[in-house]
Amino acid sequence: MTSEMIQVERLAKSFGNHDAVNGISFDVLAGETLGLLGPNGAGKTTTIRMLTGLVRPSSGRITVGGYDVLKNPIEVKRLFDISPQEASLHPHLGIAEDLYFYARLRGLSRKDAKLRAQQTLQWAKLESHAKKNGHQLSGGMQRRLLMARALITDPPILYLDEPTTGLDPQSRHALWEYIFELKRRGKTMILTTHYMEEAEKLCDRVIIIDHGKIIAEGSPAKLRRGLGIDSILTLKPRRPFSSADLRALKEIPGVLDLSSPNGSNGCITVHLREKEALDEIVVAASCLAGIDELNLTEASLEDVFLQLTGRGLRE
């Protein structure tokens, strides 16, 4: 992982008065998996569409494999493929035919395209569905097909735009396995996702975008450390805490924040700056109200995400 495969410099895109992407810059190294996270409407998909050359940036520059996306679109398109958000499968052609033409449009000969279409169906475990059209497949099968299709010419770069959205846990884990396999094969990948667990598992580095700007960047571990929370303690008291009890717990050194959300059945969530505070808080809570249940987890990327982008619902 030494050379930059993708370079994005001061990239911006406006639609009328709305700045969808607002001067973002980042690099992706060869073989790296970069996660692009953000709430709905943050600018992730617009960024991907600019990376593919589909949307023209209002300003800024993108180079992929040393080629400028706008000046050398054909050279750039030979370097990447995409697993898009939408099914985007041909409504009348069987999936084998769809894959065949997909490969032909990418410059493969008739013979090679036929062979790669068969191999792709095998890889996606969809050989028995070869004659069905894409819309006759289940959501999980469609996702597998889209992922497999993106690999039909084995490009060095892959854009995975929310590849597991709407999938059941089995299908999601199967797709994660595919992505791990691609990482092992040294693919450079940009992944957009709403699932923080997915980003944490799959990405070497994460960029959080909001309102078209980068608000945080780093490895998932680095971002968690940056939050200042070591771990999160959830505690269910035997008797409800009084306000004075909660104030006393909050004053224990090492406690960063303490909350008792409505509807949490009296449970409290304690953000700990350091684990050393754990002994003291458990003893104090036990004396004050008794303890029914307690659970200690490490701070997750989701905590980082919510801390940075807020908990309010987006339009």
């Binding site: 054909i74 398109k77 499968l89 990418r106």
Partner: protein, 250 residues
């Protein structure tokens, strides 16, 4: 070794034709239904009461018009709906121009080639029964071929431009009606254009369908009309490429 741009257009063409072949029975029916009704109801039915000065029977006057009109309708309707669906509903048009190493103009070239084939299929669907039922019906095949290609290019381009730029399905239908209805009833299919007042006639004659119909009725190889239709087609192709590029790469 075929150069990449030509190969890209040919693969797009091959894919569109494969798709067309899948539903060829329905397309054949669609190509036949309206022309057959026009011939039976207006040509044979009402035509028996009509006498056009200096013309043979009303039916033989009407047939070249119906033939060219079916080319126009088939090309426009097929591509406006196909492109609209693939862009706004199915999403695979975007994928084609987004990730495949193919330029928008190469994709348009593939659609235009398909348009020519679709147009000839419509001509065949109409001419075969006509020749079976009216063995005396004569038409200049070279003029028919050249006008069919010209009109196919012009109205496939119009279909592509509308399909790629309209977002709302109701707008698509309304625009379609506003394009095909006046062409059907005004461009000399049922009534000789000489019957219109001069300024109105001038407007009608600008539309390439009118000189194509008039040219076919003349017989032989009407060079002026053919050149006019082909020039209009060339302009429409350039416009369709621009509209396609602008809409697929906003």
């Amino acid at each position: 070794m075929i150069p990449r741009p030509i190969l890209a257009s040919l693969v797009t063409f091959e894919r569109e034709i494969r798709d067309y072949r899948k539903n060829i029975f329905y397309f054949a029916l669609r190509n036949l239904i309206q022309p057959v009704f026009f011939v039976l109801v207006i040509g044979v039915g009402l035509g028996s009461f009509v006498n056009l000065p200096g013309r043979e029977s009303y039916l033989s006057f009407m047939l070249p018009g119906i033939l060219m009109m079916s080319v126009v309708q088939v090309c426009y309707q097929h591509f406006s709906s196909e492109i609209w669906m693939s862009k706004n509903h199915e999403g695979y048009l975007e994928l084609l121009t987004m990730t495949a190493p193919i330029k928008p103009r190469e994709a348009v070239a593939g659609y235009l080639l398909t348009g020519i084939v679709v147009a000839f299929f419509a001509v065949l669907c109409f001419l075969l029964p006509v020749w079976l039922l009216l063995p005396g019906f004569a038409i200049s095949l070279s003029a028919l071929m050249l006008f069919t290609i010209g009109l196919a290019l012009f109205f496939t381009s119009a279909g592509i431009a509308v399909g790629v730029s309209v977002l709302d399905p109701h707008t698509l239908t309304t625009v379609g009606i506003f394009i095909t209805m006046p062409l059907t009833y005004l461009c000399g299919v049922f009534v000789p254009v000489e019957m219109y007042p001069p300024p109105f006639r001038l407007m009608i004659e600008v539309i390439p369908l009118t000189p194509a119909i008039e040219g076919l009725r003349e017989g032989g190889l009407p060079i002026a009309e053919i050149i006019y239709v082909w020039c209009a087609a060339a302009l429409a192709v350039v416009a369709a490429i621009k509209v396609f590029e602008r809409n697929m790469h906003p």
